[in-house]
Symmetry: C2
Subunit: 709 residues, 2 copies
Amino acid sequence: MQEISKAAWIWYPGDFELWLHKEVSIRRDERGSVIPPFWRLDSHTANVKFRKDYDLEQEEEVSLYVEGVYNIALDSRYIYGNPETFTLPAGKHHLIISVFAETVVPAIFLQGKTLSTDNTWTVSTNNHKSPQAASWIFDTPTYKPSTYRLATEEIRPLTVEKLSHTATLLDFGKETFGYVQFHELQGSGKVSLYYGESREEALATEQCETLDEVHLAEKSASQNSDSDSDSNSDSVSNSNANLFTVPNSRAFRYVQIVAEETLQIGDMTALYEYLPVNYRGRFRCSDERINTIWDTSLYTMHLTTREFFLDGIKRDRWVWSGDAYQSFLMNYYTFFDNDVCRRTLTVLRGKDPVETHINHILDYSFYWILGLYDYYLYTGDLAFVQKNADKVHTLLDFCIGRTNEEGFMEGYKDDWVFVDWSEIDNRGEVCFEQILFCRSLEIGSYFAGLFQNPELAQNYEERARQLKERIFSVFWNDEAGGLVHSRYEGKLNNHVTKYANMFAMSFGYLDEQRYESVKHKVMLNDAVQPITTPYMRFYELASLCEVGDISWVLEEIRSYWGGMLDLGATSFWETFDPTQSGVQHYDMYGRPFAKSLCHAWGASPLYLAGKHVLGIRPLTPGYETYLIEPQLGDLNWFEGAVPLPDGDIELHVSKEHIKVTAGSGTGLLRFQSATEPTADHGNIEAKGNHLYELTVLPNIVYNVRYESN
Amino acid sequence: MQEISKAAWIWYPGDFELWLHKEVSIRRDERGSVIPPFWRLDSHTANVKFRKDYDLEQEEEVSLYVEGVYNIALDSRYIYGNPETFTLPAGKHHLIISVFAETVVPAIFLQGKTLSTDNTWTVSTNNHKSPQAASWIFDTPTYKPSTYRLATEEIRPLTVEKLSHTATLLDFGKETFGYVQFHELQGSGKVSLYYGESREEALATEQCETLDEVHLAEKSASQNSDSDSDSNSDSVSNSNANLFTVPNSRAFRYVQIVAEETLQIGDMTALYEYLPVNYRGRFRCSDERINTIWDTSLYTMHLTTREFFLDGIKRDRWVWSGDAYQSFLMNYYTFFDNDVCRRTLTVLRGKDPVETHINHILDYSFYWILGLYDYYLYTGDLAFVQKNADKVHTLLDFCIGRTNEEGFMEGYKDDWVFVDWSEIDNRGEVCFEQILFCRSLEIGSYFAGLFQNPELAQNYEERARQLKERIFSVFWNDEAGGLVHSRYEGKLNNHVTKYANMFAMSFGYLDEQRYESVKHKVMLNDAVQPITTPYMRFYELASLCEVGDISWVLEEIRSYWGGMLDLGATSFWETFDPTQSGVQHYDMYGRPFAKSLCHAWGASPLYLAGKHVLGIRPLTPGYETYLIEPQLGDLNWFEGAVPLPDGDIELHVSKEHIKVTAGSGTGLLRFQSATEPTADHGNIEAKGNHLYELTVLPNIVYNVRYESN
């Protein structure tokens, strides 16, 4: 066999992500009713042209595989008949392959001895733009983009409980996701499946959120089983005789199977479906309860980290910007899977024109910009940010076009001003939104500066500066010692909430005096309306870590997340109210089992542990420089790892000893010691007030002896 | 059976047109290679929500049919199980049906006793806009939008010529379009079809532009014939035993059929496919050659008037703005089919954002705006214009964003500055483009004024005024007596061409002195570069009619269009050069049979006859007022009809007698008479210089006696 160059399936950048997002987004259903998202669902562009200008020393035979209908034009002449194999003449020529495809992404795979599809090809959606073609893991003619599926592996129920002569309850022992499989079918008949994240839900055939009904029949060895379900059935293997795989993927721990008596089912298992990731971030500490919470958080995070970062695996199974923003941050301390970040950022923003806020939520437009900034800060991937630079611009312009005379943003009719699930009045100018808007403008300015657009950078910067001034002149209340919640029809709502204050704090918008005021009068003040959702507790607890209250935060983690574990949770929930009991916990939106028991934002201990206990964060993009500022709190010791783009940081901290090593970049280890510390490498600098710093260079094991305060 | 309200399939406005356009656009192929257009091909939005707020006196059972996957929500609660029939409770409620569909248009048909899908429903693509739902002719559950097909009827070849023992040549007697059918199949084997608009093309198996290959086998009465072709095959009936319909629609007069000896074919016919239209415009005159030209033009026009106005039926089978602009004008004097106008205007403009000019051609953006104006002027359909008001705005803004410091537009890299197929230098600032741009700004201003946007109207008007001033200050050349062609890199190209001049003339941009100068020094000056394409002859001959040279124009029609008839044309061609001979006529783009022999722009005598011989044109939108200014030229008499939105104008003109009647509006009959004319109704007003005017009111037969000059 002749040696050939490495080829990949190529497509228009972003098309694969948009197509996959559309596929994923319509997999949500509720008792058989498909629930498409209520936002515009952009997909790929059907009509594209791939181009390669080549210069071959010798003529070369190439093979071409295409997803879609197509033509081949060499030097603007069609090669009729669409031959799978054809010869490219030697010399300088240009090859254009035009592809049209609606339900799959237009894509090509061409392979010759020296010339193959790769990122030296350009591609256009016939819009006068010809970026480099995109590719990913698809590297053989039959491994087409349209065949993309997550990985699966067989799992078995922990217990199989006979409920009646037709009904069986499977318990897989923990929350999971995948496809139920029936083995050794005999006879034929109808099977109903009632899924439950709780046992109660699986038993409630009239109220469980998800169910399936399939008609099965035993088959001869050469036959497929007879099924009236058609979707997705090629996504899983049905090749074994008398094995049937339910075509729909579901979230469940329990499944109640009700089969007609005319059908006998042998073994019942499931295919667990997951995104293969590396477990790079690690955390262990002297408190086993916190370790269990961290493990359960990681499992929750992995279940919701799929084709994209989903909010929850039972519901909504959608990509929400506010939810994804937290997943991004947790990912940087766990999987460091930047592919899923890019996929998620790409599909959240979708295509122009911007007609609505992302997910129709005002705050969620800003989280997208914040998320893109963090992506750059943690990964250093400038190329991806550059690809999105215009989209930052058009999104910000959409926002600017909706500011009022004072430069504030208010919710328009049909906009959802979310902030948080709680009793708050979000009419008018909500301070929290202005803080996020201001930060988004600053990021827009920073990006514009990176990409040689000083005029735009200056414009956004000036706008941000003015906005920040106005925010403090309008919303700051000296008496309350913080920012008030909102102004509606010219009247300030003097209610102080934590939302704007904690974000202003984390964005560095508070001078020292205001910082102290917000810390004591807002964040640590029990009289201020408490935050009750895990969603906003993410930021609240992070803020409390920032203000140095790590022991209080650890205690909160033990009681709130530990509270779910005490109720048997195997993954963390969408909401948790410790005052409820029994099936009350599963109720939401007026439906008894609507609550998601595996929700990404429930996994925030991952972020708190990585950023605030291990205390590791990048200072410049891609961890070129970074900070390590560990906080023991009430722990005796902890250890863990945080992934860098190139290598990891390994850290062990006890009350007397800090051990650290890093794979790349230049770190600054900052710690407090009651006595003069020592290190076996580098120089420890005293910063006053028991504070010390040590510069951490790559691939050196630093052992520091110190005395914890 | 209970009486039920009238229901229609409904969808998001524009979606059906975009979907159909995409389907039609990818039907072009060249010897088996599909040729998608080289512009962005927008399609429908997959994810939509239909909404009805209702108030029922009694509960009501309704039936629901949907194209796509969907859910039903009554007062925000899902009705699980998607029942085909369900009961709506009495009282005030809201019903939302969410539909997702990719390859067909998301559409619903709901029917109850009093409540049905109609244009009282709103629909959203989840973009915060909720326009009235659109509907058309689809009014039963099974007559779904996705089943839309043009009409067909069987036609038979005029001659069947046996070329060899395997090859047969069918001649259908004239240019046509449709699907070949084989009857009484026996045996099995491969059949090749070589289509020809000329006999030579059908015989040239290696060079003809279109061909098909099908594998056929006789079948039992209950079986369909075996075919490896899958596309479109459900578009035509294959229900007869041993009848096979070729799935691809083709343009042809001749078809060479080559069948393997193992297959016997009986009768060979075709299904002529056409858009059902009314032949409302009529024209007859004392010159039979001109009558034949008019009839052949009408047939050409009908063949290219299909789902949309196509350029040509063999090639390109695409929707081009410049070509369609002329079809619009011809349509107003023939079919007055406003559905096809709206469909064409909708798909040409597509969706925002505007990334390129329409069809990638600078001029073609302007023709779209001009075409929308004409549509309003001829039909008075303000609602459609209003639906497109934002799109006029965004297209003009795109153009304005590409003006240079002097406010002129130049072709950007990748823009096609077309003007005409001829030897002209279109680099830099082309005067013709500025004239069209100026007119487009004026139209933009007019529309903005209609829709209560005085600020925008003022902005466009001022911009147009300044542009017009600059056009004349830069491009007008007193010596040459007209506008010069262009300026490139600051240097005027003093070459005078007719393009800018004839459009400036027709837009009323020339004062009396310049008008006379352009008339004599440009339009009637043989030294000026002649226009040779039927495309631009459309405007040239119309201009010459305007300047009163109707006899010269009639002579041109006789020789140029008559020249094609003399060569056996049964429809008019894309181009015609009388100096060529034989198969030279069929050559184009370096391919021997690439020329389209049925091209819409070849039908311009329809427009010249209606607007300039019958002399009928609207003065205010929808023919509320209109002008009739007949020109006999060298004809002894003519008669004809021009459609109005409500009724027709019937006109008969001889040298002594004018007879006119109109169905609606207020007309002004203007004519010259050497002697004092008389009329049996109304008052004839003398306007001086032998010019007379008579006001024409609806439904009165006016007989005018006069003496032609």
